[in-house]
Symmetry: C2
Subunit: 333 residues, 2 copies
DNA sequence: TTGAAAGCGTTACCAG
DNA sequence: CTGGTAACGCTTTCAA
């Protein structure tokens, strides 16, 4: 590999001068600059960022720890992070933990050693030990999650309470009187609780006789399928089911389809998230659009700002959401 | 940040000794080792991998260049790459190009400067300029693609010709006499041509009167939808449509559904790829399972071997595929 | 078993 | 505007 030294020698100048031309850090006479550039061109010299980092202390690396890239919303966030990171010359080091705590801890250490300048952590929950590690490793840290809220660290989300409220409202405006809400677990996360509250608020405001809250045993479509069965058994006359995420909604729709119950003619089903699948499946799902890509994009902007020393005043950023009205919900006849 | 120097001073030993204990590279007396370890523990010292890389020339970094992480199969490959990479202490630096050539070139340069030890390139095609860049930058390079074949570089795929042949055979064995093949473009890639050939071979061997090859204008479900319309218009009596990828198949199924043609009762539809969606949608899609995760896993193993200096004898690795028999295809009555 | 010192490829400061 | 040199944090001879 050709180094700055080689270039200096070939160009007959000092390494300081070469450094100046590649960094444009100090004035260099036009002739010298040209000569140096020519040598660089000929030799194909490329500065070694590792050496540079060692002296400047800037690695231009951000660690991104995710649970699982197989979740399309995670991939979307990473896409946003990576794409805008690159705009600021930052690269990302990707680590998947599959939710394992010791792996999370291990990767934080790893990123520490690799000298990343910040960490974005995407996961459903934030373990106490992880927090400790992260605090000890004094670099900007940002937490991204669809499912839980963490006051301690900067984050970017949507107003989930409002989104849930608005979707419920939308369903009610469509004429539905029996609107069920299907959440993903009997022990809702703090964020899920917000959504439940949004639903309840709409139900109360419209003086719908009672709220119908059901609990699935997870967030996958299989669990949505099983939950739908449950709901229908107990409430033959529900006309709308609002699911706390799209996969659950797909499961519900699949169940109804197997039982020959037409969606949306007989029952409307709404989702949450707006995964790609929501538009591919038929009927296309009416859902709350969470701007995952943008969440990643904004997140990295925040962390880069923080790295740059700018005081970020808002730790908690709320992005706009949207009720995507598609085919799985319709006016009651 | 605490450095090796600090540890040495606090422990009252030389930095050489500290280096020896953290690397277990040379014998160190038990007492000294213990003392050093204690200081490390107390100070929370973590070796700086950047400095280490500078001297050892080993960055333990692999660059992964992808077109778009939003394609779930790409995310799967990346998952495989990352997970087994970690087993060998390698980290990945992720770059998305969105298919832009100049971006690809830029990222190769970037990875060069960041001192990655190898590059895995996931994309539909490999540009000549990219090849040049990559050759100039003399590190192991591996190409992963669902859609094209590149003899020059190591890769890992499945036997696409055989897979296509077997799926067609399966359809014929189900009793179908009019089996159409839907490819994604009028100008098939070399890999797609292999699949077309596999289809043709099965048609010929079974003395089916004629092959029915249709061309979609892309690989998305919308294009599958449009193509299905075309197929039905020209061939009312097809009973099976084998699509060159799952998204196309979903489009076809959606079209048939809108036209009230029952899948699989009236027409069987097969896919290729086995994306997650293939099992989520109803009917679940009969498809060729391409082991994307494993392709990534094997790819990084190969590249790490090459980095280690082991001569990889097989440049082209074929992984097993599988015909996933699900609900979208059935015996003809 | 230990320490001193050179060196990895840069940047940044200080002279000139 | 240019060159010399220390320093970044570490590994790796070489001697002791």
């Amino acid at each position: 590999m050709v180094t700055i030294k080689d270039v200096a020698k070939l160009a007959g100048v000092s390494i300081s001068t070469v450094s100046r031309v590649i960094n444009n850090s100090k004035p260099v006479s036009p002739e010298v600059r040209k000569k140096v550039l020519k040598v660089i061109e000929e030799t194909g010299y490329r500065p070694n960022d590792i050496a540079r980092t060692l002296v400047t202390k800037k690695s231009y690396l951000i660690g991104v720890i995710v649970t699982n890239l197989a979740n399309s919303y995670v991939a979307e966030m990473v896409r946003g992070i990576e794409e805008v990171g690159k705009m600021y010359n930052y690269d990302i080091l990707l680590c998947s933990t599959y939710g394992d705590k010791s792996t999370e801890l291990k990767y934080i250490q790893l990123l520490n050693r690799k000298q990343v300048e910040g960490i974005i952590f995407i996961s459903d929950k934030l373990n106490e030990e992880v927090k400790e590690q992260v605090d000890a490793f004094k670099i900007p840290f940002l937490y991204l999650s669809r499912h839980s809220i963490e006051e301690k660290y900067p984050t970017v989300t949507i107003d989930n309470n409002l989104a849930s409220y608005e979707m419920t409202q939308y369903l009610i405006n469509l004429g539905h009187k029996k609107v069920a809400y299907l959440t993903d677990s009997e022990e809702p996360t703090n964020l899920e609780q917000l959504k439940i509250n949004g639903y309840k608020k709409a139900i109360e405001e419209n003086e719908i006789e009672k709220e119908l809250i059901y609990y699935a045993n997870g967030r996958k479509n299989e669990e949505g399928y099983a939950a739908a069965k449950e709901i229908l058994k107990e409430n033959e006359d529900v006309t709308a089911i609002f699911c706390s995420n799209d996969e659950l909604a797909i499961g519900v729709i699949n169940y109804l389809r197997d039982k020959d119950i037409k969606v949306p003619d007989e029952i409307s089903v709404a989702g949450y998230g707006d995964l790609r699948m929501a538009t591919i499946i038929r009927p296309q799902i009416t859902t709350v659009k969470e701007p995952f890509y943008d969440m990643g994009a904004v997140a990295i902007r925040m962390i880069i700002k923080e790295i740059a020393g700018e005081k970020v005043k808002e730790k908690r950023v709320n992005l706009p959401f949207h009720i995507e009205k598609r085919d799985s919900c319709k006016k009651i006849k």
